[in-house]
Symmetry: C2
Subunit: 490 residues, 2 copies
Amino acid sequence: MSKGLTKRSENYSEWYNELVERADLAQHSAVKGCMVIKPYGFAIWEKMQRALDDMFKATGHQNAYFPLFVPKSFLEKEEEHAEGFAKECAVVTHYRLKTNPDGKGLIVDPDAKLTEELIIRPTSEAVIWNTYKGWIQSWRDLPLLINQWCNIVRWEMRTRIFLRTAEFLWQEGHTAHATEAEAIEETEKMLGVYATFAEEWMSLPVIQGVKTPSERFAGAIDTYCIEALMQDGKALQSGTSHFLGQNFAKAFDVKFTNKEGQLEYAWATSWGVSTRLMGALIMAHSDDNGLVLPPKLAPIQVVIVPIYKTPEDLAKISEAVNPIFEEIKSKGISVKYDDDDKQRSGWKFAEYELKGVPVRLGLGSRDLENGTIEVARRDTLTKESRSVEGIAEHISDLLEEIQTNIYDKALKFREENTFNVDTWDDFKAQIEKGGFVMAHWDGTAETEEAIKNETKATIRCIPFNSIEQAGTCVYSGKESAKRVVFAKAY
Amino acid sequence: MSKGLTKRSENYSEWYNELVERADLAQHSAVKGCMVIKPYGFAIWEKMQRALDDMFKATGHQNAYFPLFVPKSFLEKEEEHAEGFAKECAVVTHYRLKTNPDGKGLIVDPDAKLTEELIIRPTSEAVIWNTYKGWIQSWRDLPLLINQWCNIVRWEMRTRIFLRTAEFLWQEGHTAHATEAEAIEETEKMLGVYATFAEEWMSLPVIQGVKTPSERFAGAIDTYCIEALMQDGKALQSGTSHFLGQNFAKAFDVKFTNKEGQLEYAWATSWGVSTRLMGALIMAHSDDNGLVLPPKLAPIQVVIVPIYKTPEDLAKISEAVNPIFEEIKSKGISVKYDDDDKQRSGWKFAEYELKGVPVRLGLGSRDLENGTIEVARRDTLTKESRSVEGIAEHISDLLEEIQTNIYDKALKFREENTFNVDTWDDFKAQIEKGGFVMAHWDGTAETEEAIKNETKATIRCIPFNSIEQAGTCVYSGKESAKRVVFAKAY
């Protein structure tokens, strides 16, 4: 076990911070509010990107790139949108530095003041819809299905790596449609893509639903989301898909001629996931020994560690490893042979455990004699000695099994931590303990806010698959048609 | 032929601007100095990225991500570096907007002024070496071989899409080494990667060489570069690789314990290519009909266009196309069947010519009877009727042939436009006409500047493969050991 990694039960938040740093995922940078994503962390993000990008393309989307800067006047055009983001905008006011005339160093050149301030994009609806105005004239130009991968800045004072930083990486899809129905279908489709990605790649079960009006994206008619439960009983919003109606088309005057020859405003959606998913991945599955990675997202899926005393032993083991390595690799599995002799095998075991490598193979001199190999699973921390015969095939199956097992474990955890609650006292008690609390709500913003003020719990979503079942609001006692999901959230 | 595309011979610059816009590659955005990279242009950039990224990884590099913001004090630390970039820095001074108390709209909140201004990265040496300080303690931590793909801002007043914009996309490699020799080897290796990429993927022959001191990257000991010749006789710097010595290690105090137990400053390199390569690709190969793309970078490599009069004809053709389409696709070739009946085949021919699709297949009713298909090459604008039999195999070979042919054509053009010049009058005359002018230079910055002032020509590089051959400086008449490459440049 890694010395010094705080236990989840002792201090979950500390455990997370230490794990992020020690597993070489990311670190706080000296630039306030910003993170450095380290190579190992970035390799996981790249795997996420590739899988998502393939899914976006398979659903007909194309990538493009739009400017980092949003002129202040663009942001102002959609009023709710402007209001929602104004408080977290990084503002560029000057475009030149000059040598300090009073001595060394540089100062901002007062002569290089911009006539209009530029905002670093907190999201790109404004700049993209301003561009779409030139792209959309006729129904033939629709739908327009575009995505961009980029960095975003939303100024934050209290930051948390991957979960809340001033700068982060994300993708943002921005689509334009000829009809309301088609735009709603797109909003739903992309939420489905996110849910599939979370479940099949991240092994992360999610609840799909719609946000209450107070939790909507600024400028949206409806915000759909996927919500996941972390091991400390807090919820994490893992992706959102917005139906924007004609709000941005109206703000930026984007009209098209429909098939009947009439001018209409285009219908819009936007949807995004970010490096926040890295936080979800870490917090959902990892344990006190370190990271637990679903094989599909693990940069190294299998590591082979030789166990030896003398250089002669190592040479013999390496010779035996070679065909095993090649056979595993030929199955498209990412495998590493760690014969670095600056570190002992015990150190390596702990290191790969910390880094969440799904399968570790150990090979010692006795194994050579017996034709065996030790197979250790990161997810269950179990190990067994097996015949070298057919090992690649076994590992290929094992990786799938691990992928499924991690999902099943997370699903079981969520099920055990989802509670139907019907009284206000039970509600308060359960929210304090954590988990998804399914409760009736009267549908008013007042009640929602009162509950938030008293318990810090928010409505994570109104789940799509929730059964219509009349009840009374846990807070106000008024009528309610179905339960919604409450939780404390990241 | 596309109506209205200005001819290169009439106005090369107009031709370029029109082509970029009409082939759907990119456009100026309403945000001053910034471009929008449109889906078709971005698809080419993605292919470039993928190929380069694979080459970086094959040479042992890993990706990571560092902050967008560089605190002013970081930039100041390496003096030459600071001086070199100060004049083009976008500066963030505030982190919040607020509602204008005098009416509608938003204003910058004066209470949200940053205590230290943040520069949008014009390059990341400062922020990365400040981070490396925490990563490098021992020779065991070296070499550190890291790359990042990101956006960059260097404020520009006079912009040109892909060639010079305020914001652009690039990759920047930043490596740290234990010895000077190893860092120099890395600098050379990465220049070689760029040259290989330019030649094998972009079909673009390049000259490899070293910059004169006055053309060096701000903060480098040496800047290596690849230089390509465009069709208008101007040079385009297509990639640079810098040996930074210990400059940044000293500025950011990055020391490591060497094998002998002594503290030493680390040795650095940095290297980058950007969306400027898109400009090089367009200007090197395209013609008056539109884009000419090397097959390896073409988003669509083959397009199949049905030629028909009635819906019945189309149905029959589509049926015949299906197995051809599948066979071509099965060879890993990106193929599109354009059966859109809103456009006529003549319009489609012109459109795919404009967009540089390397091979166009045309199939009409008569072809069905004869078992033939029309194969048109974009690079030579030739076409021939062939038997459908073995067409996929033929196209696979043809794409390779086109890739080579485009390279050979560009190489021939460069050879025909490279001139040895020995007198000042000849020099001036040739520079006016364009091309790479190989001339002797006395090695002084004064002469270099005088030549630039009189002719606008710069020394593109001192080529690595230039033969040592004594001569006299074309300007000063002083001694010179070898010729250098002069040209007007983008």
